[in-house]
């Protein structure tokens, strides 16, 4: 029987993030047959629906995460502005209107920690550019449960604070530029059948 090693990807980004994961998704979009869940710190406004912004990207099924939705393969989920995104044991999504974590709602740590508990060693976590410490704790949880940890190289990141915080907390599986991360991911995803 064929078994996929990696079953989900979670990505966290803050300041400067949209350009970064756009580039990343463009690179790896054709290879994605597993779900991708993304927390991008964003202020609530009329234009804060990232799913709408990215729905035009070819070949990708892009949605805003909604409560009780099953996590589907080859689908990209964005956390809505002003809600935490989390994953339940039964692989459905949950939104939380609880207090901000690391001054953020959505918080990367909330997604990473809950996804790690569900997917364990079959989860890939990626921390990209940002000027916050969010994501470092979550990435540590992914590592503790055997998942793959990736951080954008601080030199390339538009804002290096978040990658640096993650690197300080976690000895990552891989650190590199967006292009290098894309190549690494392609290899990981291809190797996992």
């Amino acid at each position: 029987m064929v078994r996929l090693k990696y079953q989900a990807v979670v990505i966290g980004a803050s300041a400067g993030g949209i350009e970064s994961f756009k580039k990343l998704l463009e690179e790896i979009g054709d290879f994605l047959d597993i779900p991708v869940m993304i927390v991008q710190h964003i202020k609530k406004s009329k234009n804060s629906n990232l799913a709408e912004l990215f729905s035009g990207m070819s070949g990708l099924n892009v949605r805003e995460a909604a409560p009780n939705e099953p996590v589907l393969p080859a689908t990209i989920y964005f956390a809505p502005a002003d809600y935490h995104l989390a994953v339940e044991q039964g692989r459905t999504l949950t939104l939380l209107a609880t207090e901000p974590i690391n001054y953020s709602r959505p918080s990367i740590d909330v997604l990473f920690k809950t996804a790690a508990e569900v997917y364990r060693e079959s989860l890939i976590g990626i921390v990209l550019t940002g000027s916050s410490h969010d994501g470092a704790e979550g990435l540590a949880q992914i590592r503790d449960l055997g998942g793959c940890t990736i951080v954008q190289s601080p030199d390339e990141a538009e804002y290096s604070i978040m990658p640096l915080a993650a690197l300080k907390r976690v000895d990552t599986s891989f650190t590199g530029t967006i292009k290098e991360i894309a190549d690494y991911l392609k290899k990981q995803l291809a190797d996992t059948v």
């Binding site: 909604a66 409560p67 044991q89 949950t94 939380l96 209107a97 709602r105 364990r120």
Partner: protein, 278 residues
């Protein structure tokens, strides 16, 4: 299994037992709540009150009433704001108020009101529309402590800038500062805003219908419920509304795909405002 995996497995067993203890000992039923949510709240309390394990908390749920109140408080506080999602309140001001105006007496149910920020928002809006005096608002929550906080209407002053901005975006034309008095740390909402509000205990999971309501507000409560419980509560709302009555949910909540969907028409798909069909 790694140490962390064993720890997690133990934690998850303890969470299930804690939920069982709550329903068996006190009748508070969180079995159909999001497990992620309940577990995060339990761990928050565990850390804050320095419990060694969740098992120790279970003991106190059974033997220590004060601890139960602290735990329930953590379960029921939402981090909300006045006029949260100003577009929703703008829509109500422009579209719903005139509908309510046609009734000789208006009954509103604010279900799951938590610490009351949105109850005061609603009261302000009704007052400015000139229909507050013929309105009765039932503001309910399962937790007496948050109901007390809602009734007190005291909020940290650092939030007021945001409240004021929301109020203006929601179509507010008066000076928001007329609605509170401030001291160094807090604002206290004007008591006239509470005149037509009854704060009452009601548990959406276990309690029944409220009668002949014209407008139900229930925002960011259903997100914590699984599909079964969501369906139960939406039917409760359906049975509580009078024909043509309005239901306003949180902007990430929906009646779509629920068994009550066909009983409602959609007034605004994005803002999640519905109307019970005649």
């Amino acid at each position: 299994m790694t140490d962390r995996e064993i720890e997690l497995e133990n934690e998850n067993i303890e969470v299930e037992l804690l939920i069982e203890a709550l329903v068996k000992k006190h009748g508070f039923d969180f079995r159909d709540y999001s497990r992620v949510h309940i577990k995060r709240r339990i761990l928050e309390v565990k850390q804050r009150l320095r419990y060694e394990s969740i098992s120790m908390m279970i003991k106190d749920i059974i033997y220590d009433r004060e601890f139960l109140n602290k735990l329930l408080l953590s379960f029921s506080i939402n981090y909300t704001e006045m006029f949260r999602d100003p577009d929703v309140y703008l829509f109500m001001r422009n579209e719903i108020i005139d509908l309510l105006r046609t009734f000789p007496f208006v009954k509103i149910w604010h279900a799951g009101c938590s610490t009351g920020e949105e109850v005061y928002s609603l009261a302000i809006m009704l007052k400015e529309a000139g229909i507050y005096n013929k309105t009765q608002i039932y503001a309910t929550d399962f937790n007496d402590k948050v109901l007390k906080m809602a009734e007190d209407g005291i909020y940290p002053i650092e939030y007021v800038k945001n409240y004021t901005s929301n109020y203006q975006q929601a179509g507010g034309k008066e000076s928001f500062s007329d609605y509170y008095i401030a001291d160094d740390n807090n604002v206290i909402m004007d008591s006239s805003l509470r005149k037509k509000v009854v704060f009452a205990n009601h548990n959406l999971v276990t309690d029944g219908v409220f009668g002949e309501i014209h407008l139900i507000m229930c925002r960011n409560v259903l997100i914590y419920f699984n599909k079964n419980l969501q369906d139960r509560v939406l039917h409760l709302f359906k049975d509580s509304l009078c024909n043509g009555g309005v239901l306003c949910l949180g902007t990430k909540e929906t009646i779509e795909n629920s068994t009550a969907e066909s009983d409602f028409e959609t007034l605004d798909k994005k803002l999640k405002i519905y109307r019970l069909k005649y």
